[in-house]
């Protein structure tokens, strides 16, 4: 057991995967000697060598496309896109090739690749460095979208993502990279994909979230508990395919739902969650659903970022509002 941060957990999972499976290779900008701009790959190049951990030219489209070629050749490339805001050129390869290769060839060629990228705001980063566009990926058929929210889940989910026979995008909340230390057994055990994690149980309201917002939600739940409101906090963890059973069971129990994400509202993945509830658990709802998320604006530069990111206080307010119903 080691007390580690989320980014250290990512690194430990990568090291374990490199160790256990010679077909795993790591590629990306600055992942080599520099160890990645967030140090997620620190020491791996030194330990595993250039054939396993390789700096690429500055070519996001080709990085993703090359990974498809490697994966079709039975390697398991784990590629890093330095920031999610720079992932757009890779989308073509992800949507049109990686996510389709198995289906297009009826299983003849497959694409066991992982595309990692730090995402999200709250760290006073430069322009284009605070994006949270998981919803775009969660709409792509054939793709898995996984977002860890703690060191333990980062370790276990990343290992499972790498071992998965199909393509996974793995978005790491950079705000949590060093926010918290946790005991994690570095034993190579994966955590199940496609599974939500109930981070806190509660009978009154379901707070559904993922990524960095889990912290704000837990903080809000703590505060609400002081007022006798028991919020259940569910970390979806895998957005596609998502764990509808856990989601719906929670909402059926509580009858109330607040969804929290840091992506802008319209077209955010909160819509999917709300829709699913409105389809399959409407009868259980005693209050309207609430989404706590930024309006449809561009992540502001640091000076005004605080006005953008959802806070525990806002989550509390939304919960109190839905508690006033029914």
């Amino acid at each position: 057991m080691a007390e580690i941060t989320l980014v250290e957990a990512v690194r430990a999972a990568l090291a374990h995967a490199l160790e256990e499976d010679p077909s795993v290779i790591i590629l990306g900008e600055d992942v080599g000697v520099d160890g990645g701009v967030f140090r997620a790959t620190e020491g791996l190049w030194q330990r595993f060598g250039r054939d396993r951990v390789r700096d690429t030219p500055l070519s996001e489209a080709a990085i993703a496309g090359m990974a498809v070629g490697l994966a079709a050749q039975r390697f398991r490339p784990v590629v890093e896109i330095q920031f999610q805001g720079f992932i757009h050129p890779a989308l073509d390869q992800v949507a049109n090739h990686a996510a389709r290769l198995r289906n297009r060839t009826r299983g003849r060629l497959t694409c066991p690749m992982v595309l990692r990228a730090p995402y999200g705001g709250g760290v006073h980063a430069p322009e284009h460095h605070s994006e949270s566009i998981e919803a775009i990926f969660a709409h792509i058929p054939g793709l898995r979208v996984v977002i860890p929210s703690s060191p333990g889940r980062a370790y276990g989910l990343l290992l499972s993502a790498i071992r998965d026979p199909d393509p996974v995008v793995f978005f790491e909340p950079k705000r949590l990279y060093r926010a918290q230390r946790e005991e994690v057994a570095l034993d190579g055990a994966g955590l199940p994909l496609d599974t939500a994690f109930t981070l806190r149980e509660g009978r009154d309201v379901s707070v559904i979230t993922w990524g960095a917002m889990t912290r704000e939600c837990l903080e809000a739940a703590e505060a609400l508990a002081g007022d006798g409101i028991e919020a259940e906090v569910v970390d979806m963890a895998t957005l596609k395919p998502y764990d509808a059973a856990t989601l719906l069971a929670s909402v059926r129990r509580t009858g109330r739902c607040v969804i929290v994400h840091e992506a802008p509202r319209t077209g955010g993945f909160g819509g999917e969650i709300a829709a699913r509830i409105a389809e399959e658990a409407l009868d259980a709802l005693v209050a309207p659903i609430r989404r706590v998320c930024p309006p449809d604006i561009i992540p502001p530069l640091p000076k005004l970022e605080a006005a953008y990111m959802p806070t525990a206080a806002e989550i509390c307010a939304a919960v109190r509002e839905v508690m006033a119903w029914g």
């Binding site: 080709a62 050749q73 198995r102 009826r106």
Partner: protein
């Protein structure tokens, strides 16, 4: 390094005294002239009657397959189809130089290469008929399926070649695209990556002079497409794509270089799209017959036949037998294609993941029962 300013325009220095396509040092090769004469400098295989007859048969088959596919489309039994009429020399030339263990990453117009490598005609028809099983061909199992988003195939070759290198295998990735595809960023990113890592890739550009209605000269100001290699530090060369011998020769050299650890090569094959872009296109909207017809005098099939007749006594009987065989094979394949039982409807979901997640499994089962997912 020189420290001064040139007189007059400073820019790229023309090299040597040659004009035009090889101004930047891009060699061009052709061994077989349009009238069927073979240069002395031709490679060894070009004097082997059997080899040439095989190349000829491959091109003839490609042309017959194309014609049949277009006919099937015209009669509503195939989807939109991209004919390779006039470009058979490229397809057959490139495939004939490859080894079975090499990997082909084709565009959507390399039927001839796919057939040469062992994909069956009925499989190709199945794909173009709108059935995913066509890309699950029994033939070269590691070859990529047809690539429709133009240019996106190039990075795949980088990955495939890197896999070969990592495993220490003497194999090459061969990726094919058109003149239009060279304007895509993916092309350059892939070239550059293959260059910096010295990977065994052959980038073959089938320059048929058109990207749908956009002619080659509206695609780029570069005098040759092969010179796009220079920016990636790669060797680039041009060949006459209507000369199957030159294509195969250039490919053989590039493949040998790749296998020997010498890295990637760009080969531009100059040919001409004699057909419409696809069966959905009407090329008369944007080009005149007068533009097209001179190119019929250069096309690769007749050219090689002329040479076979002139140099190897290819007989009318041989020709007729080959045509009859080819015709029969194509007809049989078309029939086989038409006879293939439809795939089960649920297969629209079956191959999304190795193991279907619950929601998708449920949707699949609803679809299988004829409902909406």
């Amino acid at each position: 390094m020189h420290g001064g300013k040139e007189d007059g325009e400073v820019g790229i220095q023309p090299c040597g005294d040659r004009e035009g396509s090889d101004r930047y040092g891009i060699p061009f090769s052709r061994f077989l002239t349009p009238d069927g004469a073979l240069s002395d400098a031709a490679p060894g295989f070009a004097s082997d009657r059997g080899e040439l007859a095989a190349l000829y048969a491959g091109m003839l088959r490609t042309r017959a397959f194309d014609a049949k596919a277009v006919a099937l489309q015209r009669t509503g039994r195939l989807g939109t189809y991209a004919s390779s009429l006039g470009q058979e020399g490229v397809s057959v030339g490139l495939a004939s130089a490859m080894r079975a263990e090499d990997v082909l990453i084709p565009s959507f117009r390399e039927h001839g290469a796919q057939l040469w490598r062992g994909t069956r005609m009925e499989e190709l028809l199945l794909y173009w008929g709108g059935d995913e099983r066509g890309s699950d061909f029994a033939g070269p199992r590691e070859d990529f399926p047809v690539c429709v988003p133009v240019g996106t195939q190039y990075p795949h070759a980088v990955g495939v070649a890197m896999a070969f290198t990592l495993r220490g295998e003497a194999r090459c990735a061969v990726v094919v695209g058109g003149d239009g595809s060279t304007s895509r960023g993916d092309f350059h990113e892939a070239l550059n990556m293959a260059g910096v890592w010295a990977l065994p890739v052959v980038f073959l550009i089938n320059n048929n002079q058109w990207a749908i209605s956009v002619p080659r000269e509206a695609q780029t100001a570069a005098a040759t497409l092969a010179q796009k290699a220079i920016g990636a530090g790669l060797p680039g060369e041009q060949v006459d794509g209507c000369d199957v011998i030159a294509v195969r020769d250039a490919m053989e050299r590039a493949l040998a270089r790749g296998r020997a650890g010498g890295g990637a090569t760009v080969i531009e094959c100059i040919t001409y799209r004699l057909s419409d872009h696809t069966t959905a296109d009407d090329a008369t909207r944007y080009r005149d017959d007068t533009q097209v017809s001179p190119h019929w005098a250069e096309e690769p099939v007749t050219r090689l036949r002329e040479h076979l007749v002139q140099a190897h006594g290819w007989t009318r009987q041989e020709e007729e037998e080959l045509r009859a065989e080819t015709h029969a094979a194509v007809e049989a394949a078309a029939q086989a294609y038409l006879d293939i039982a439809p795939q089960p409807v649920a297969s629209i979901a079956d191959y999304l993941f190795e193991t279907l997640p619950p929601d998708l499994k449920a949707a699949r089962d609803r679809v299988a029962e004829g409902g909406n997912g």
